[in-house]
Structures are given as C-alpha cells and as structure tokens.
C-alpha cells in the first residue's frame, strides 16, 4: 500500500467537494428566494439557533402546539404538526435536540397564511423536539419528547 497515493486521493476528494460548494455558491437562486441560513443549520443548541436567526433568547409558551406520535417506530420518517396561537407569528421552526444539527426546518409565515405546518423529519434517537416561533420580533418555544425505536440518521 502506497501511503502517499492515499494522501493524494484524499486531497483531490477534498478539492472536489470545495469545487461543488463553490458552484453551489455561484448558482445561488434569484433574489426572490430567501437565503439559506447556513449558520442556523450548523448549531447544536436552541439558544445558538435563536442567535443564528438574529434573536437573543426564546421563552417557553403554551400557545405553541406540537402534534406527533409519542413513540416513533421509524426515526427516518417522523410526522410533526406545529401550530402557533401567538399573534403576529412570522416564522416557525422545528428543531430536534439530539440530531447532529438541531435545526431541521424553518418556515416563514406571511400574512394570510395560517401558523400551522405539517411535515416529516428524521430523528437519530429519542429526543426532545422543539417548535420555535418568531412572533412580532420575539422568539417563543415549546418542546415535546419523542421516543425513537429505530434511528433515522445512521448508516
């Protein structure tokens, strides 16, 4: 086994990934699109996610509901419905505390759209799931534990 050959292979692999990233950057969708908040998708905690979205802190609220199974047999597909009764809800996000990165999805809710979203996410393991709501510039959250019998993020 030639070890320097290994290194070279690794090097080109890395360069290719970088190239892809650059292409993705160059071909950014038009201005009608919201930017993808890369920082928010890289953090591990609720507080850091709130900060990455431009807030300072989130307070717990009973006006946010999370509907989901209490026990998910298959972590690869866990359905969630999140809803907010907080006036002037502008955005709603779904976060899975024990996933490699906490933020799963963030929805902007324009005027006229109900603060109600139903989607499916992956869960690596049993975890608290957090619905984070931005309303009138402030952040609120509610959380719920969902048990997972088979993880959805492994290989």
């Amino acid at each position: 086994m030639n070890s320097s050959r290994r290194t070279v292979l690794k090097g080109t692999g890395g360069a290719a990934v970088l190239g892809l990233a650059m292409v993705a950057g160059l071909f950014k969708p038009g201005s009608a699109w919201a930017e993808w908040n890369k920082a928010a998708f890289e953090v591990k905690t609720l507080n850091d996610a709130v900060k990455a979205m431009g807030g300072s802190q989130a307070s717990e609220s009973k006006d946010i509901t999370i509907q989901s199974p209490d026990i998910a047999e298959n972590g690869a597909v866990v359905p969630f419905t999140i809803a907010s009764k907080i006036p002037k809800t502008e955005a709603m996000a779904l976060l899975v505390e024990k996933n490699p990165n906490i933020l799963a999805a963030n929805f902007s809710i324009p005027d006229g759209t109900e603060p109600w979203v139903n989607t499916r996410v992956k869960m690596g393991q049993t975890s608290n799931v957090i619905a984070l709501v931005k309303a009138d510039g402030k952040y609120y959250y509610a959380s719920k534990e969902v048990k997972v019998t088979l993880g959805g993020c492994g290989g």
């Binding site: 963030n106 109600w116 989607t119 993020c153 492994g154 290989g155």
Partner: protein, 103 residues
C-alpha cells in the same frame, strides 16, 4: 431532473389547504457507504409556494427533513380554479417547479 411533485390544493373552509409530496433523496451527509466513505449531503434547502404572484409560504430546510419530503400548510385568499405554484432548490442548485389548481 427530479421527478415531479405531487401537489393537492383544496378549499378547507375559507382557507386553502395545500399538501405537497416531493421526490428527493434528502441525503444527510452523515451516512457512509459500504466502503466507509461518507455519502455527500444532498437535500432541498429552499421551498417557496406562491399564489397569484404572492408568496404564501417559504421554507429553509436542513438535511434532517425526511426523504421524499411531505409538507402541508393553509393560506387564506385563494379560491377554486386559482393556481398554487411550488418551487424547491437543493444544495446542488437543482430546482423543480410544479403547480396545482385549487379544487
């Protein structure tokens, strides 16, 4: 080119309820193949829904959204016969736009 989305848009009371099923791998970038090499992340990053030229929902997604993503939401101001247009863009720059008529 990715497969078309399945979109249903129907009146639910005075609101329009939209259900979308997209066809996408949503690869997390965490998994490894049989040889132990990491499978690169490949996932939808942005989703936008418009009705009569007005955005009724926009979303930013991470790789934690499940494979073949499902999304449902409700908005006001639509009527039967109107079109709802949905577009997604993934992290490789691929995009797909489909539309449905409100029933």
């Amino acid at each position: 080119m990715a497969d078309p989305m399945k979109i249903r848009a129907a009146m639910a009371g005075d609101k329009v309820e939209v259900k979308v099923l997209m066809s996408h791998e949503m690869e997390t970038g965490q998994r490894k193949d049989a040889k132990g090499a990491t499978i690169p992340a490949w996932f939808i990053q942005n989703v936008t829904a418009t009705h009569n030229g007005r955005t009724v929902l926009s979303a930013e997604w991470g790789p934690a959204v499940a494979k073949n993503p499902f999304l449902s939401f409700r908005f006001a101001g639509g009527k039967p016969g109107d079109k709802v247009i949905i577009t997604w863009v993934d992290n490789k720059g691929d995009k797909r736009t489909d539309e449905a008529t409100i029933s």
